[in-house]
């Protein structure tokens, strides 16, 4: 299968495999990349999306109940996250932003680990090396450079693992993201820039960041790009598999813009009623990634009432365990505030810790 892409933006229109109504659309470039998917695998993608939406809804509820400090919903972006994450191997490495909880789930992050950061018990929920995925990056765009450096390392090591940077439409304005493209092109790094264009950076519409489709930016840096319907899990997977194959076989970086919509608030602290046009929101609701895939699978006869009931039960079970895991997270011990600042002893900090320990002893921990 060819991995050569034209230097310029691959697709001028948003590429689809499924129409918003769930009809199969012919796509000569993408079709081969998903031709091998078995009915079970298709169903797995569906289950992933349903479960992730359930986790996301539950997390929002937990935040409303005061159990989480904050939560960044991914509602509406399930296909973009599942389709891309499920294209990866376990030896690949993901550098996410803060919204990739769906990706994290697919990488095998434990349920309670998804919320440590948002409950405020830790700054990271998991060990990145256990799951091949860094923990949330909050500084917009910074992780795109990390992914590039990691990919350069893979190339040095002579392995065919790849790195993926996830980021949003707003992030494309940050200098770091452009620099990442410069470095990735310069060193032909096996990295995929996966941009979820969910139309918003908090209250700012994508039009403030870019006057041209975001996918058009990469070719000028020497990086081929694709623009894909981010609510079409198969199209996303096809694009991602194509890009990954290029990276594994020495083809260098690829940029993917997954066009989607943030159906929830930016975070649970946000109030989109101040800036969002409900008409446009309603239009996007009609393009829901899960409903679309449901229609497709039903058409294939894969989604009878039995299956649907099983999936719902699975999702409920995950939600229950997720909630229990969250509520069971212990508060960290006071003196751990001094841990892991350095990997080796640091006289100043050691003294400070010793003094605070004396303080706690005197006044009671």
């Amino acid at each position: 299968m060819s991995t050569t892409l034209p230097a310029r933006t691959l697709v001028d229109d948003v590429a689809q495999i499924l129409s918003p109504r769930g009809d199969r659309v012919e796509n000569r470039l993408f079709d081969p990349w998903i031709a091998d998917l078995t009915p079970d695998q298709l169903l797995d993608l569906y289950v992933d999306m349903v479960v992730i939406r359930r986790i996301d809804t539950e997390a929002t509820a937990l935040q409303r109940q005061g159990e989480l400090g904050l939560w960044p919903p991914l509602l509406g972006q399930e296909a973009a996250q599942v389709g891309s994450a499920r294209a990866l191997r376990s030896d690949d490495f993901v550098f996410p932003s803060y919204r990739e909880n769906g990706v994290a789930y697919c990488r095998g992050v434990a349920l309670e680990d998804l919320v440590r950061v948002w409950r405020g018990t830790a700054l990271s929920g998991w060990n990145p090396f256990d799951v091949g995925m860094a923990t949330p990056a909050i500084i917009i765009g910074a992780q795109t450079l990390h992914a590039t450096g990691y990919a350069v390392g893979c190339k040095k090591d002579g392995v065919d693992s790849v790195a993926v940077a996830y980021f949003g439409d707003g992030a494309t304005s940050q200098g770091d993201v452009s620099e990442a493209m410069v470095f990735a092109a310069s060193f032909q790094a096996p990295v995929i820039f996966f941009c979820q264009n969910n139309q918003w950076a908090i209250s700012e519409p994508v039009g403030l960041q870019a006057h041209r489709p975001i996918a058009e930016r990469a070719p000028g840096f020497g990086i081929p790009s694709m623009r894909v319907d981010g609510n079409d899990v198969l199209a996303v997977m096809a694009a991602m598999r194509c890009a990954i194959d290029r990276a594994r076989t020495g083809g260098g970086p690829t940029f993917i813009e997954a066009v989607t919509y943030r159906m929830g608030p930016h975070t649970t602290s946000d109030d989109p009623s101040r800036y969002e046009n409900p008409v446009i929101r309603a239009e996007w609701a009609a393009k829901d990634p899960i409903e679309r895939f449901e229609a497709y699978l039903s058409g294939l006869g894969l989604l009878g009432p039995d299956v649907s009931a099983t999936v719902a039960a699975t999702a409920d079970d995950v939600a229950r365990r997720f909630r229990a895991g969250c509520l069971g997270l212990p508060d960290p011990e006071p003196l751990t505030v001094f841990d892991h600042v350095y990997a080796t002893p640091h006289s100043w900090l050691d003294r400070q810790k010793s003094q605070y320990s004396a303080y706690l002893e005197m006044y009671g921990a």
Partner: protein
């Protein structure tokens, strides 16, 4: 008029926009949303998108563009959404905003105000609770100020915008909802002046921004124990009004400085060192510092330990008074 600190800044911004057509507001989400803390609420509606401009998501771009606008005679007021997001703009601030007036022998002025909600105590995720003021106070060419109450918030933001020098304006985000009387016409102190907020005679306690309220509480608690603690609200961090601090220490002979920022190389070190230089012979004890620990800002469930509180301040007061305290008998 009784206002929250956030609303007091909002009204200060409104007055500045009204008074001077060269004032423009730049920032992420400051328009329709009114900023994530609503500090710019309603201003774009009132003054239009040419005066209150939502910016692309790039802090270096925002400050760099402000520099260009200043070259053109504008007086930009930039909002950095949270303390931890100022670093991408560090180069433009330190190498351009701070230096251009000096570089051009006074030909080019940089009357840029950079508003930064800062500090912890709101249970936030990483990068949303930092206190980076020392970086900027150490940078020649910048002025650095911070407010602790609604009246100062209102007056000082207007003074900062009117100032012909660049000003870093640090807003104590956990005090945004503090309410207080605001008189828009009041203009008692110059921007660079500190204020004695609680007079006292035994110990001088210097605080600024979010910790002024805590220091005042500590002074009240001390006074219950028969101690007279003088609390100074520094307000300006560059320059520091050492005259006011020195006068107090000459009287008390004992100094405690507190801030949320990390201790090593923080403002507390400068205040301790400068006051020691200026009135060594008046000091009865070494100045003590009560600060955040020298760790990155920790997760929310640990921030109560990181943040200086009333008890840690009182412990330091005991220390400079030579009373029993947590370090009595402590050995490294």
């Amino acid at each position: 008029m009784s206002l929250t600190l956030a609303k007091a800044i909002n009204s200060g911004l409104r007055r500045s926009l009204d008074d001077d057509p060269s004032v423009v507001l730049l920032g992420e989400d400051i328009g329709a949303l009114g900023g994530v803390f609503r500090v710019t609420d309603g201003l774009q509606q009132e003054f239009g998108t040419e005066r209150v401009m939502d910016m692309p998501l790039a802090e270096s771009g925002i400050i760099g563009m402000a520099v260009g606008l200043a070259f053109r005679g504008y007086r930009p007021v930039c909002e950095i959404q949270f303390d931890g997001f100022i670093y991408p703009a560090f180069d433009q601030i330190v190498a351009q905003v701070a230096k251009l007036h000096f570089r051009t022998g006074g030909a080019v002025r940089m009357p840029i105000t950079i508003r930064v909600p800062y500090g912890g105590g709101i249970g936030a995720v990483e990068h949303h609770s930092e206190s980076p003021e020392a970086y900027f106070a150490h940078t020649s060419g910048l002025r650095v100020v911070t407010c602790s109450n609604p009246q100062d918030a209102h007056t000082m933001i207007r003074q900062a915008i009117a100032c012909d020098d660049p000003v870093l304006f640090f807003e104590p985000k956990r005090r945004y909802w503090t309410t207080g009387e605001v008189d828009e016409e009041l203009d008692t102190l110059p921007l660079g002046a500190a204020r004695v907020v609680v007079p006292g005679s035994d110990v001088t306690l210097v605080a600024y921004g979010p910790l002024v309220a805590t220091a005042v509480d500590a002074a009240a608690a001390a006074s219950d124990g028969g101690l007279s603690v003088e609390v100074i609200d520094l307000r300006s961090l560059s320059p520091v009004d050492f005259g006011t601090v020195e006068a107090s220490v000459r009287k008390t002979g004992r100094l405690v400085v507190t801030h949320e920022a990390q201790q090593f190389g923080g403002l507390g070190a400068e205040i301790a060192a400068s006051i020691t230089e200026r009135c060594f012979e008046f000091l009865e004890a070494a100045p003590a510092r009560v600060t955040g620990f020298d760790v990155p800002y920790p997760p929310a469930r640990l921030e109560d330990h990181f943040l200086p509180d009333l008890d840690r301040m009182l412990d330091a007061v005991d220390r400079v008074l030579g009373r029993q305290n947590s370090l009595t008998g402590w050995r490294a």
